[in-house]
């Protein structure tokens, strides 16, 4: 009994490591494919448009409301201890380092990542990928690479957009709704929020963009069996991207702190 449980866990573990290895290999081929000839500029622009431009509105909207809600909670807490001049910096820190990259990553993973898995999965089951293969087109260069690169670039840009709208939301709540002075809101932001924190968030966003695009294109690329398979690939791609982003966020945070420690900067 115990042995079979042990065996089960062992097998699961081996499977997970194998799967991880395959995904890493896939991402390597995708990146290598992108930098191989020919340069797929048009495809890159298309993917860029697809990931970036079409997500503009939802990111702005979610950013705005996240800012509103977060600022309200922080206000409720800080009002009690007479620290309303810290609402601005605390919200700014939370948004730029955590909520901005994570929420943007999650939203883009669900929207663009899901669409990537569905698109590539459809191409797989309709034999379009086989057709590219026999036509002598490197599918990593043509399909996978541009999607990964476009996601790596777009996600931080969208995160910056999210940050901007979230801060706008927070400002609206603090100044327009609660009625505090605008100067109090901005008072200590530039003192506490360093530029490197913003970049830290954008760096994480780039990693999240890499992660969801690799997972989702991998799922799509390995779709098996008909339309049902495409649905499954999309579903699994989105769910594992989201989970990975949230788990990875924690480890990245530690990694970044370790890095600051190493170069002797306070975090």
């Amino acid at each position: 009994m115990i042995q079979s449980v042990f065996k089960f866990i062992q097998n699961k573990l081996i499977q997970t490591v194998e799967a991880l290895g395959e995904v890493i290999l896939f991402s390597g081929k995708g990146l290598q494919g992108f930098f191989a000839k020919p340069f797929r500029g048009l495809e890159l622009v298309r993917q860029f448009e697809f990931v970036g431009n079409q997500s503009f509105f939802i990111i702005a909207l979610t950013g705005l409301f996240t800012g509103l809600a977060l600022a309200f909670q922080v206000y409720m807490g800080f009002k009690v201890v007479n620290a309303t001049n810290l609402i601005g910096p605390v919200v700014a820190l939370g948004i730029s380092r955590e909520l901005g990259p994570v929420l943007t990553g999650l939203i883009i993973a669900a929207r663009a990542g899901g669409a990537m898995a569905a698109r590539i999965g459809t191409m797989r089951v309709n034999e379009q990928i086989d057709a590219l293969d026999v036509m002598g087109i490197d599918t990593y260069n043509y399909l996978i690479g541009p999607r990964i690169i476009a996601s790596i670039i777009s996600t931080p840009l969208l995160t910056a957009l999210f940050d901007f709208f979230a801060m706008a939301g927070a400002w609206i709540l603090v100044v327009q709704i609660v009625g505090l002075d605008s100067a109090i809101f901005w008072d200590r932001i530039d003192q506490i929020v360093q530029v490197k924190y913003i970049f830290e968030g954008l760096f994480k966003a780039a990693i999240f963009g890499f992660v969801f695009s690799v997972i989702c294109t991998y799922r799509g690329y390995h779709t098996k069996g008909g339309a049902q398979g495409v649905g499954e690939a999309t579903n699994k791609g989105v769910v594992s991207s989201m989970v990975t982003i949230i788990v990875l966020d924690y480890f990245l945070m530690n990694l970044i702190r370790m890095y600051y420690h190493l170069i002797g900067v306070s975090s």
Partner: protein
């Protein structure tokens, strides 16, 4: 001496030579292809037939270099595929044209763009010239100009097949492959596609056509060389007559069944 001579002869005669091919997808526990030998004459219109699941598509993918055999040698147009890198295979595949079962058209491109695609990718031709060649190929397979700027979803199944064939012919391939070209089509469309295959074959002397089919009547009618697969091996191969004068029981039953269905 004799060996050398047959080798020299083979060089001219066969479009593909598969020798003792074994293929396992699960690292050697079960084999899908079990010691298969198959030589397809150059310039022939070959039909590969057999029950579903006997490995026809897997063999096709081996010839295309999409799968590598676990063991065995594959020679295509005198090149040993096993000695080529993936990169070399990518280039080599330009000698192939494939019509897929589902036509496999790129659904975000128009009919014309689909046929232009391989030309844009693989030739240095100017855009006008590319469009000219693509239009010519589409005319050859009998597609009217009125459909050139439609998306694949806006044309009928028969037109999709024609477009797929035009795309396969775009680079003037030396071998044209058809994977189950008529499976799932109605009788009228089936006849149209069969005729298209024969016409295409006849209009390109020297080109080898390899068709996978489970439509026996059509296979025997249009092919001049037939190979029957069973359980990952070639049960019998040769001109169609061979199949009607055989003692192999399974072949007899398969042929009788297939011809009766007609």
């Amino acid at each position: 001496m004799t060996d050398l001579r047959t080798q020299l002869e083979n060089k001219e005669v066969f479009a593909t030579e598969l020798t003792d091919i074994w293929k396992s997808f699960d690292g050697g526990n079960s084999f899908v292809i079990k010691g298969l030998d198959l030589k397809i004459p150059k310039g022939s219109l070959t039909a590969i037939i057999g029950f579903s699941g006997t490995g026809k598509s897997v063999i096709l993918k081996h010839i295309l270099g999409l799968h590598r055999p676990t063991k065995g040698s594959i020679k295509v147009l005198d090149h040993e595929l096993g000695k080529m890198t993936d990169q070399e295979l990518v280039v080599f595949r330009r000698k192939f044209g494939v019509l897929f079962q589902s036509a496999a058209l790129f659904d975000d491109m128009t009919v014309l763009e689909n046929v232009c695609f391989p030309l844009i990718e693989h030739t240095p031709l100017k855009q006008e010239k590319i469009i000219e060649v693509a239009q010519e190929k589409l005319m050859q397979v009998g597609l009217a100009a009125a459909h050139f700027n439609k998306l694949p979803s806006e044309i009928s199944g028969g037109m999709q097949k024609r477009t797929g064939l035009a795309r396969a012919l775009a680079l003037d391939p030396e071998i044209i492959f058809y994977d189950e070209p008529t499976t799932g089509l109605d009788p009228i469309l089936t006849e149209m596609v069969d005729d298209l295959i024969v016409e295409t074959h006849k209009s390109r002397p020297g080109t080898t056509s390899i068709m996978i089919s489970h439509d026996l009547a059509a296979a025997f009618k249009i092919a001049d060389f037939v190979a029957m697969l069973d359980a990952g091996q070639v049960l019998l191969s040769g001109p169609p007559e061979v199949f009607f004068n055989t003692d192999i029981d399974l072949v007899k039953r398969f042929v009788n069944k297939g011809m009766k269905l007609q």
